[in-house]
């Protein structure tokens, strides 16, 4: 306890002593926004200026999912326990709305806060909700379609990166097509992130014997 307080004091002191940043990143980002293909700076950083981070992050997410799936001991698709009828009706009503919200978040990411991750999180929430309402079975072994969906985001990202590599630098999109490419990548990402995040839950939710 005492050590933790000491750590907090030392770190807090260090933060107060920090010098000004030598490079002004906001100015650089603002200066390059014209070539980024989107209008929101965070999206521009995520998918254009620092696309590497996002690419590897999706790979990490997928790896974690593989780990969870390998540890899950479900033998067969176990059907969910049916929940209360009212809950099921509400879930059926909410799920399409959540897909709509996810689509909106995906689209608005180019102009305002939003984007693939937020959209994916909403999709995943819809998946978890359907599971809790007993409308979705747990995943024992994801079928071919599901597997394709899981890796689609990473694959689209890698393919776009490789095409861009042909013109010089990895993940440096031509500024004329950048907006379209980013939307393409984000669509794949949102789908895969939604599936992976709900899969992290669905795969580990098997019923006990």
């Amino acid at each position: 306890m005492l050590a933790a307080a000491g750590l907090a004091l030392a770190l807090g002191h260090a933060i107060l002593q920090l010098p000004q940043a030598a490079v002004s990143l906001p100015t650089q980002v603002a200066g390059n926004m014209g070539q980024s293909g989107v209008e929101h700076p965070v999206t521009a950083v995520l998918l254009n200026f620092r696309g590497y981070d996002t690419l590897l992050e999706v790979a990490v997410l997928l790896l974690a999912f593989f780990g969870v799936m390998a540890l899950s001991q479900t033998q067969s698709m176990c059907p969910a326990e049916p929940a209360h009828a009212l809950l099921q009706a509400l879930a059926r009503l909410l799920a399409p709305l959540m897909v709509l919200v996810a689509g909106y978040l995906l689209w608005i990411g180019a102009y305002a806060p939003g984007g693939a991750f937020q959209a994916g999180a909403v999709l995943a929430a819809a998946g978890v909700m359907l599971r809790l309402a007993g409308l979705l079975p747990a995943w024992a072994q994801p079928g071919r379609l599901l597997r394709t969906g899981l890796v689609a985001g990473l694959l689209v990202f890698v393919v776009v990166a490789l095409i861009a590599l042909g013109q010089g630098v990895l993940l440096q999109y031509p500024s004329s097509a950048a907006g379209t490419l980013i939307l393409l990548i984000e669509t794949g990402l949102a789908l895969s992130i939604g599936l992976t995040l709900s899969g992290l839950y669905l795969c580990s939710m098997e019923t006990r014997a």
Partner: protein, 107 residues
């Protein structure tokens, strides 16, 4: 002292709480929770320091967004591992933190 710096300092406190919990608590679920608190503290420091001049820096924000997703992935994997350990051994503690009960396990 502006609001952004206050966020960063609050992040430092959260970070220290997380470190203390991670080291001191033997229960795995609590360790995972402490790890998340620690991570949230680091995110708060990054975002807070990123706007201490009054200008919001989008780069730390994007980094934190990346970090949140990685933290979720790590947490899910940790929970799955902890659960697997529980099913195997019936314990929610790491072997070395069992402390002063040196059982002789011959396996």
């Amino acid at each position: 002292m502006n609001a952004a710096l206050l966020y960063a300092l609050a992040g430092v406190v959260l970070f220290a709480v997380g470190v203390a919990g991670l080291l001191a608590l033997p229960h795995l679920l609590r360790k995972i929770l402490a790890f998340n608190i620690l991570g949230s503290g680091a995110f708060l420091v990054l975002v807070g320091l990123g706007q201490r001049d009054g200008v919001v820096d989008p780069v730390p924000q994007a980094m934190v967004l990346t970090g949140i997703v990685v933290a979720i992935a790590a947490t899910a994997l940790a929970l799955a591992l902890a659960r697997h350990l529980y099913e195997r051994t019936g314990r929610m503690q790491l072997p070395e933190s069992r402390g002063a009960e040196p059982e002789s396990r011959d396996d």
